[in-house]
């Protein structure tokens, strides 16, 4: 698989504060990555370093196997960090022409990209007249001008209204569908869950996990069960070695698995013991639950 970005033992200190600590991960082509972490966990700093705007204290990173200089590599990258930054006195089209000049690409893609984000009608309006949602969409259009190898987004839906959030997500999904590699930093977990295949989880500048979304916790999922005789059910499951923690809440029993077990199997066992279930669901922990478990335990 083609490597797009390698980060090795990256460290950044701001005075006494260590914003990023010994961070290593790689980004492979074709995947959608999420960088997760609470506020102040070093997400933006990490992105700042790989995007050439923040100086690193120690460690190394290389784009495209280190064959080009960082600023040359960035011409093949599309990135939006924090708020959209453009020249307020210039129109959308003038701003994008400037970006084309900087990235050294032709101006032929401007119309296509502005149409993609739904701003073609407003192409001649000055940037300062745009709403925040429109500004963010223009930023996406700008990041896509060079048909980038990788799209980097830092909190792309921050501060937007529900419609704006929805629009941005639709655009991201569309881009991901075209096979573009995406690196998405966010603290909104459902956002990451909906689009990402891989995650890097940070806390206080340290990496807690990096890998596929599914492999985050060594968990086999859990059952949600309901029946008429709840006490008997609880006793039965307690004795079964496959189950670990069992909790009861609002008339529903939640039993966590210690080893793999199919729903049919459990249903059969319980039926043989004379218990008929009115509710049986096998679930995996949501990203949010996994994330909270992971950040709590460490």
């Amino acid at each position: 698989m083609e490597t797009i970005l390698t980060v090795q033992n990256l460290t950044k200190k701001f005075g006494f504060l260590t914003a990023v600590k010994d961070l290593s991960f790689t980004i492979e082509k074709g995947n959608v990555y999420g960088i997760l972490g609470p506020n102040g966990s070093g997400k933006s700093t990490t992105l700042g370093i790989i995007l050439n705007v923040v100086n690193r204290t120690a460690g190394d990173f290389s784009w495209f196997n280190g064959n080009t200089s960082t600023h040359e590599a960035l011409k093949k990258v599309g990135a939006i960090i924090e708020r959209p930054n453009f020249y307020p006195y210039m129109s959308a089209i003038q701003n994008l022409k400037l970006v084309c000049k900087i990235k050294e690409v032709s101006e032929t893609k401007i119309q296509e990209k502005l149409e993609l984000v739904g701003l073609w009608e407003r192409k001649d309006s000055k940037f300062k007249t745009y709403s925040l949602g429109m500004k963010q969409r223009l930023a996406i259009a700008s990041a896509l001008l060079n048909d980038p190898e990788i799209l980097i987004l830092d909190e792309p839906t921050n501060g937007l209204d529900p419609q704006g959030i929805h629009q941005i997500r639709q655009i991201i999904k569309k881009i991901a569908g075209q096979g573009t590699t995406i690196l998405l930093a966010s603290h909104l977990l459902d956002e990451v869950e909906k689009v990402c295949s891989h995650v890097v989880i940070l806390r206080k500048g340290e990496k807690l996990y990096s890998g596929p979304v599914d492999g985050m916790l060594a968990s086999h999922g859990f059952f949600e069960l309901r029946t008429t005789d709840m006490d008997k059910l609880e006793q039965l499951l307690d004795k079964n070695a496959s189950f670990g923690k069992i909790t009861r809440e609002n008339g529903t029993l939640t039993a966590f698995l210690k080893e793999e077990m199919q729903a049919e199997e459990l249903n059969k066992i319980l039926y043989e013991k004379g218990l008929v279930l009115s509710h049986l669901v096998k679930r995996k922990e949501s990203l949010e639950e996994q994330f909270l478990t992971l950040t709590k335990n460490n």
Binding site: F14, G48, L51, N52, V53, V54, N55, S69, H71, E72, A73, L74, K75, V77, A79, I81, R83, N85, F86, Y87, P88, Y89, M90, Q94, K97, L98, V99, K101, I102, K103, E104, S142
Partner: protein, 275 residues
């Protein structure tokens, strides 16, 4: 280089304030052209004809026009300072770097623009002065027409040096208004220092020798004030008015040195900063 120049041009030309300031800085020098061609009547008592005083004659006109037109550099100085300040306040400097402009290219694109502006401005001054010189010179002087035109070269270096100083202050302070204020303060500090050298610590000679290496004084001594020369011209018997007003190579070198230092320091400063 053309690409970097074009990038800076797009940024500045689309900004109304910068555009007006740049145009103004080109229009004002033409006032000296008008001044040279009119005769001012004073209610029939007498007519003030500046041409008669001989200040529009070659070679002194090269000195006078470059000296006075150089004051209009303040218009572009505002543009220089704000072209950094705006990048910081709009945070577009960050976006530029993310889009793939290196910090070196960022500095160079602005420096190239300063060079280009100074070059065009020098050409304009050259043409204006040439026109005036042609009007006020008799044919016998034609071969001497370009005598004294080295002042235009000095004018070019003076502009580049001054704008580099503004540029450095812009990068250092990041806010246009504060940077301009700081420019003014540093000018005053240098003047005070000059006064101290001259009257308190040393004497005239030592003061001049030390101060010629300071930024403002080095820019100033590229084109010395021409007033004394005009007076000396009309009163030839006064020997104590004679002074050295010509453009020296070491003066140009000092200014070029400052220019290089200011631009290099701006680069180092930007490189060390987290944006």
């Amino acid at each position: 280089m053309v690409r970097l120049l074009h990038i800076e041009f797009i940024k500045l030309w689309n900004n109304r304030t910068s555009r007006i300031l740049i145009l103004t800085s080109f229009i004002f020098p033409f006032s000296i052209l008008i001044l040279s061609s009119i005769k001012i009547p004073f209610f029939g008592f007498f007519t003030l004809d500046l041409g008669k005083t001989g200040i529009f004659n070659v070679p002194i006109i090269w000195h006078i026009s470059t000296f006075f037109i150089a004051f209009f550099k303040i218009f572009f100085a505002i543009v220089v300072v704000s072209m950094i300040g705006n990048e910081y306040s709009n945070r577009t400097i960050k976006q530029n770097l993310i889009d793939g402009l290196s910090k070196k290219e960022f500095i160079l694109s602005k420096f190239y623009f300063i060079l280009t502006y100074s070059l065009i401005s020098s050409i304009v001054v050259f043409l204006i002065t040439l026109i005036i010189a042609l009007f006020h010179s008799s044919y016998t002087e034609m071969n001497l027409l370009f005598r004294g035109s080295e002042f235009v070269l000095a004018y070019f270096f003076k502009l580049v040096g001054f704008f580099s100083l503004c540029f450095f202050l812009g990068v250092l302070i990041k806010r246009s208004a504060f940077a301009l204020g700081f420019l003014f303060i540093s000018f005053i500090v240098e003047m005070i220092l000059y006064a101290l050298f001259k009257w308190k610590w040393f004497n005239d000679q030592i003061a001049d020798q030390i101060m010629q290496f300071f930024p403002f004084t080095s820019l100033w001594s590229l084109i010395n004030q021409p007033i004394q020369r005009v007076v000396a011209m009309s009163v030839p018997e006064k020997q104590d008015l004679i002074y050295d007003y010509s453009v020296h190579w070491h003066e140009v070198l000092i200014v070029v040195g400052w220019t290089g230092l200011f631009i290099y320091l701006s680069y180092v400063l930007l490189k060390k900063r987290d944006l």
